[in-house]
Amino acid sequence: MDLQEDFNSEFEEDDVPAGRSPADLLFLALDGYEGPIDLLLSLARDQKVDLAKISIVALADQYLEFISRVRQLRLEVAADYLVMAAWLAYLKSRLLLPEQPSDEDEESPEDLAARLAFQLRRLEAMQKASKELMAIPRIGQDFYRRGDPEAIKVENTSTFDLSLYDLLKAYGSIRDKMTASTLRIMPTELYSMDDAIERLRDMLGGRRVPNWSSLETFLPDDLKDTLVVRSATAATFAASLELAREGLLEIRQNGIFAPIFFRSNPDAPEPEVDDVEEEDLARVDSLLADLEVD
């Protein structure tokens, strides 16, 4: 701001400091203004009259002259300044011409001039206030805060809002997720139909069980879990249907919900000997010994 003041006062002076052409000064001068209103305000200050009583026409002339001098020097003039010049030329012409009957909407040139005057006074007031504000004592310049502050310790104790219910539910859902996939790794525990078909084929194929034997006797004897027993029963029954279709065995049931009996189909072809392993034969023999024939 002081810098700006210097430019302004230098510009006012008639004596141009050595080494500086008027063009330089003008250029610097314009460069140092904060827009056209600021420039107008500087020019108005030069009139050294109360801003409230300033002659807007005279001020407009000064402004236009200033701008034309700058432009004669082929210096760049920002559009804002040119717009203001146009507007001032327009205002001046309206102020000087005898008043014409005009639209009611149109603002009278006097009102416009008053607005400009208000604008100048207001900006001047703000510029003065800026100077005063910057002159009052400031922290770190004129007065100071505590240089070596002591921290007020804040000890945060975190509390976590978690109920046992939430904890258990979380664990339950993890376990649920796990069991959902466990189905795939433990299927052997259930008795599959493929297993049953294979087992029945071995036991009943080749006319090995000529007498009627109940379904239960064909189940593996190491089953404990009742559900696995049930699955084996179902699988074995289903397997028996398949083998009956193939003509390997026959099925008999005396009534609804009565026990189901199987025996080898007597018309089935003889098994090839090497198909039957010793172990299986021994097993079949022991089975046969136990059989109670209906």
Partner: protein, 232 residues
């Protein structure tokens, strides 16, 4: 804890801190039965003539903050501690003053008062210094944000309230703080490509546009010549 102890605690809390402490925060740290206002008044008067003083900073209508600061009359003796401060541009200083005196004020109003568009960095600098903050929105089309000063601004300039700004009373009495569109709007309407043509008088505006054309042509010519000059 008796009153004497309460004063001691308040003194310690305020002395320990570098930045102003809000009354609300103080209340949290003081015994619940403490008469905070009374204690603050007493402490302030205890320090009234001292080298260190207790300052009140009005953050909002209902909220104060308090801080110990060295007395500003000792300024000339304390120059060794002076902080190096970034120099503010003239635009930033004027903008700060306008926000301080006219708050709450919109960006467009600031531009109107200064008669020139604000460059991008100007508000940023003031925001970065946490001297200004958004205050709300003006209930006009576009609902523009309004700006005001912060507690940090008051602390920085050693002011209790914005009413203590230099010359505030006279300015208010003179009517210069009233919100009244200045000429700036007219000039800027043109330069900012007539986006607000609806404002007041369109006829004036059109007349002006014609004149502008002439000027603008000239302006282009000037620029052209300059370009040529540079190419030489």
């Amino acid at each position: 804890m008796d009153r004497f102890e309460q004063i001691r605690l308040l003194e310690a809390l305020l002395f320990a801190a570098q930045e102003p402490i809000r009354e609300k925060q103080l209340a949290e740290r003081m015994p619940s039965d403490a008469d905070l206002n009374g204690l603050l008044q007493e402490l302030q008067s205890m320090y009234a003539n001292r080298g260190v003083q207790l300052r009140r900073i009005e953050i909002s209508k209902n909220e104060n903050a308090w801080a110990f600061r060295t007395a500003d009359d000792l300024s000339s003796y304390m120059s060794i501690n002076r902080e190096v401060e970034k120099k503010l541009s003239r635009a930033a200083i004027e903008t700060l003053s306008i926000i301080a005196y006219h708050q709450p004020v919109t960006r467009a109003e600031i531009e109107d008062i200064r008669g020139v568009a604000l460059s991008k960095g100007t508000m940023d600098i003031l925001l970065e210094a946490s001297w200004i903050k958004p205050k709300g929105r003006r209930q006009t089309p576009g609902r523009p944000v309004t700006w005001g000063t912060t507690g940090n601004f008051l602390d920085h300039f050693g002011l209790e309230t914005v009413r203590d700004l230099p010359g505030m009373e006279e300015l208010r009495a003179s009517g210069l703080l009233e919100s009244r569109p200045g000429l700036g709007t007219i000039a800027m309407q043109q330069s900012e490509a007539a986006f607000d043509g609806s404002e007041e008088d369109e006829e004036d505006f059109e007349g002006l546009q014609d004149e502008l054309f002439d000027l603008e042509d000239d302006y282009e010519a000037v620029e052209l010549e300059e370009d040529i000059a540079i190419e030489d």
